[in-house]
Symmetry: C2
Subunit: 237 residues, 2 copies
DNA sequence: CGAAAAATACATCTAAAGGTTTACATCTTT
DNA sequence: AAAGATGTAAACCTTTAGATGTATTTTTCG
């Protein structure tokens, strides 16, 4: 959106962590680094959100585990504000699901509280520099989840036990048009055949898909991976 | 699937790279490491596939850029074999799309040819050890693409300019049933109203969605985020 | 080649869908 | 109180969809 001209100026950092002791420690650590300027701290997620609105920090160091609010929700809200605020998650857990969801929501990094302070500083540098930073071990975790998701998706649609495989090429063409909401006559004119022929094909399709009408046939087609070409996939290969 | 009992035994590595000189150099590098055993090399993707079937290597070091076959397809085929063969991509390009797709297809790592040989060895160790390894710079690249995908998906479905918002609560109920392939009479009996009333509602729905028949209405509903509860999402938050 | 599958076509009939208009009772908002 | 949105219902009519049976011509494949 907006380009910052602060190649040398300090990055504004905001800290949100419900554990006050930890917050203070991190504050001290970061403040000792000359390149960062801690513009605010909060032990409460909601107050933290207000501080973000007020100070427009470059980076928010966000604890995931807070009583008032779910950390993921906080990320979501910050991203929704669209202020270019970059979220670096600081969490006690290396749960792959949590990492995945945080990154999916737009977090620019994820470090564990157990990690060395040097690593936190490095992550903060990278994130404030516009990069995404995940420690190698968490990257590994992330991909556990990511690739598993892809596999699950694949097995869902690759279940070739569906009746679609029984359709002939012509019947697939007809079904394709049905899936576009075309009438019998429309199909007939597009395939250059008579509408009675279309009815024959459609009836055969119903038989094979074990449905009673066009709407059910279309639903069956959509739910069983027909039309994959037309339906944009969320994550495509 | 199957647990290997080779904590100390050498990992079987297979090399596929169309550039013979590079292949030879990598072969020499890896062979010099005591923990790896190069069981085969090939400058041709198809022959490489046969070697995989024959030797069942633990790790395949795979070049992405080959004349005969697209590297991504090779990954896909290897994964389809389901032999537990782990693919480490060795590529000349740090294109975020390429990285993303390779990882999505199940690659367990991705290193650049320009990287230090020590990094290649390290990646190989990690991957043969069952982990996923992506160098920090490529992780960053990966997330560029990943998070962009998520954003695009979100803006697709969040476009609330669709006509669905014009529907009344009752009309939504009717549309919901239409989306299940229910007939007018079926809708009537389920909502305890007469079928003529259903027709009225359906006609109003058609008007509002600017379609001509139930199939088109259902398609509109599905394509515009109606029924989000029933349609499983690929990657959910 | 010859059998089987697929694609084509038509007739007939019934059921369902869809268009249009009118009407009335509620309920909310101005 | 008037206006507007909503839900309900019906009559009338036209079109489309769907079921069933029969039959001819291509294609495909053993």
């Amino acid at each position: 959106m907006r380009r910052e001209f602060k190649s040398k100026s300090k990055s504004k950092v905001l800290l949100i962590d419900d554990n006050y002791d930890h917050l203070a420690a991190v504050n001290e650590l970061i403040s000792s680094e000359s390149m960062f300027n801690v513009v605010g701290t909060s032990t409460n997620a909601n107050i933290g959100m207000n501080l973000i609105k007020k100070y427009h920090p470059d980076v928010v160091l966000l604890d995931m585990n807070m009583p008032e609010k779910n950390g993921l929700e906080v990320i979501q809200e910050i991203e929704k504000m669209n202020l270019g605020v970059r979220v670096l998650v600081l969490s006690g857990y290396d749960d792959s699901d949590l990492i995945f969801r945080a990154m999916k929501l737009g977090a620019k990094g994820y470090v564990l509280k157990t990690m060395a302070s040097a690593q936190l500083i490095y992550a903060l540098e990278e994130v404030s520099d516009g990069k995404v930073y995940l420690p190698a071990s968490l990257t590994s975790r992330f991909f556990e989840y990511f690739q598993q998701q892809v596999i699950e998706e694949k097995t869902e649609t690759t279940q070739e036990e569906n009746y679609l495989s029984f359709l002939t090429a012509r019947e697939e063409e007809v079904l394709d048009l049905l899936c576009q909401g075309v009438t019998y006559k429309g199909v007939a004119s597009q395939l250059f055949i008579s509408d009675t022929t279309v009815k024959t094909h459609v009836n055969n399709i119903f038989q094979k898909l074990q449905v009673n009408d066009r709407t059910q046939a279309v639903l069956y087609a959509i739910n069983n991976g027909f039309m994959k070409k037309r339906t944009k996939q969320l994550v495509r290969v």
